[in-house]
Symmetry: none
Subunit: 219 residues, 4 copies
DNA sequence: TATGAATGAGTCTTCATTCAT
DNA sequence: CATGAATGAAGACTCATTCAT
């Protein structure tokens, strides 16, 4: 797949005016280390039960240092969610607009599986699912900057597919979520049940796309 | 739909030896009230942040009373999850085995949507998704008693459909999760994003089934 | 002096709806013990440096217990100030309205010296002086319920004295603070400098009154 | 009034060996800026709650810089108190020794009101009152270098007044505090209650002096 | 059984102080 | 001399759990 990866893996991009420490190279690295450690801890224990003490230890800094980079626990958590996925959405939106539809949708899905599902970014999404209800602002951000943008891109693709006759199920254009559903299912499954029944999400997704692109009955 | 509801509404069935209080009628009612209140609180704030104080207040009992019925917070939480969904799985397994496949799968889905998705039981599933990683025993229980049983029932149905030629996509038999995926998507969506973009899960599910049961090209 | 002491020494009167623990006898005693301990700690270290841990230890309760009776450190502090002096103001206002002026003003001053200056209540005033600027609501309360009421009572007395010709300095009616000034000076002095130069506040006050009531030049 | 101001504005005079930084012109200015900022912060929040961070920001230096000029927070605080009032005591002691008593005491009081009460130096005294109990060395210094010297000067004046017959109340010589009491009252009042009931301290002081110098009954 | 006051371990957060640059 | 990032000790506050009544 020719995913135009954004420069850098993204975890530590900071466009906003640096809020305290971190103008320096080392500052940025520290901020990144903290976010990184925080992701691990939040993913493992949930927002409420994660201890900043552990985040600090894991990041190799003192407890107080965290507060040089983030206002408080919640700000750290939100920053985590805000910075990890957006770059990949941009990548997805920038995917090449030519070629057969099936290939493009496949590329879309594959990008998602490879670059999100199989990385620690999956944990970010799991965190949004788990903690979203307690962080409405975060849920909204995630919706607007991730979900909506991804679904809109997908919808555009589907529309073309429907027009070209490559996709028979026109309802898909109304429910682009249906394309993503198995991926979300995979996300959840791998997080919860993989040790009981491993699930080959990529294979499942391929089967799913086979259905979506199934040729209809000849007239 | 002809959902064979199990006797009772299910929330507080307890087959096991009563754990302390509740031999009496009132005891059972109290236990039920506590579980009920706990579901509300856990759903609203998550396991770690829910306060037993609030559970008690909501249930109309004293804080200490909770400990007469449940060993501790975790036991209350696990009991909640263990008792709420299983009866409905039994109902699903018991669904009539005749009629056209499409109708049967539809009934399956509709039961799920109506009896789970649109009730407070959806919160139980959301809780499992959110808290499962911290409660492996619970995740396992949920897998074995809910997920696996539901998927097995579904798989049996699909197999028949494939054999009868009503379902063309044989891969569905390997990935019965594909049938459930939109429902899970709906569960998540309604919990997180409904205020931004309401999703008609039932309609989406119908569209999804249309795809699953799409007649193939004539040979 | 015939100070009509209000029933009880006042420290633990609570008229307001008891806010949590304390409906019981023991509850009230505990609340009192905490307030008592808090006065000691706040007086010794100031609001910011006093540790609730020490307050709890001194009161013989656990740290958490304080929070059953008071919302937080500040509420404890404010309650302390609000409850300790007001009863004595009432006593002062209720002082008998007959007799020679000099005797009445003397009684007023003596009451203040004996019942406030020489008791731990003096610390309450010192706390108001020291912390008032950080607790405007408290300063206002103290002004309205203590200072203003005391000065108004005093002013009434002075007015009578002026009318009867027992007090020649009419300006006193405009500046009743002048009567209290030496007492405040004594309050401060005993708190800060007594170990270097003990000050007999009562004697000083008598000298002061001698000035106030000094007979004028014969015409 | 002809206050013989000591050379310089006084705030940052240091006779002692410079503690580290400041041999240079700029060093002295910085030290002064820090002391100045510290007075503002300590006055506003009290010793314990004042943040050196804020002091540094207000002084326009980095936090670490404070430690080049002062050993620690407490040393900064003590220095503040030690340097701000003493020059004015010297001025008071040096006040001209001729003229009518009343005028001289009036000058004394006026100097105090104008040069202390109505300046930021009043905050220094308020700080001593509020924090003295926690800084015994400071309280002692303040007693010896400010209070005692001022009272001694006052006492000398009073003694002369008594001898000359200008002051009838001989007790004043034993309690020179009585002269200062209204000023202290004014200091406290303006700090705490001025917004509820403004107090004209100068007028009050004049009334007070009228009493002190009231001519007695003719023999 | 039921209560709810009491406990105290556990965490976030602040801020004086240090120190590498 | 000056900086300001980093540290970590200290303290307010919460809340699951216990237990006397």
């Amino acid at each position: 797949m020719t995913t135009p990866k954004p420069a850098g893996t993204g975890r530590t991009r900071r466009q906003r005016a640096p809020d305290g420490a971190e103008r320096t190279e080392k500052g940025a690295a520290r901020r990144a280390a903290i976010l990184d450690a925080a992701l691990d801890e939040f993913a493992a224990r949930g927002f409420a039960s994660a201890r900043l003490d552990d985040v600090a230890r894991r990041a190799g800094v003192a407890k107080g240092t965290i507060y040089l980079y983030f206002k408080d626990k919640q700000a750290l958590f939100e920053e985590l969610v805000r910075t990890n996925l957006v770059p990949h959405i941009a990548a997805i939106e920038a995917m090449p607009a030519e070629g057969p539809l099936r290939a493009r949708v496949e590329a879309f899905a594959e990008h998602f599986v490879r670059e999100v599902l199989m990385t620690r970014r999956a944990d970010v999404i799991r965190l949004v699912l788990a903690e979203g209800p307690r962080f409405p602002a975060l849920a909204e951000f995630h919706y607007r900057e991730v979900v909506q943008r991804a679904l809109t891109a997908l919808q555009r693709l589907i529309q073309i597919g429907v027009e070209r006759g490559e996709i028979r199920h026109e309802a898909l254009a109304r429910f682009p979520q249906l394309v993503m559903a198995p991926i979300m299912m995979g996300l959840i499954w791998t997080g919860l049940f993989n040790r009981f029944a491993p699930l080959d999400v990529a294979a499942m997704m391929r089967a799913h796309l086979d259905m979506l692109f199934a040729p209809g009955r000849e007239p």
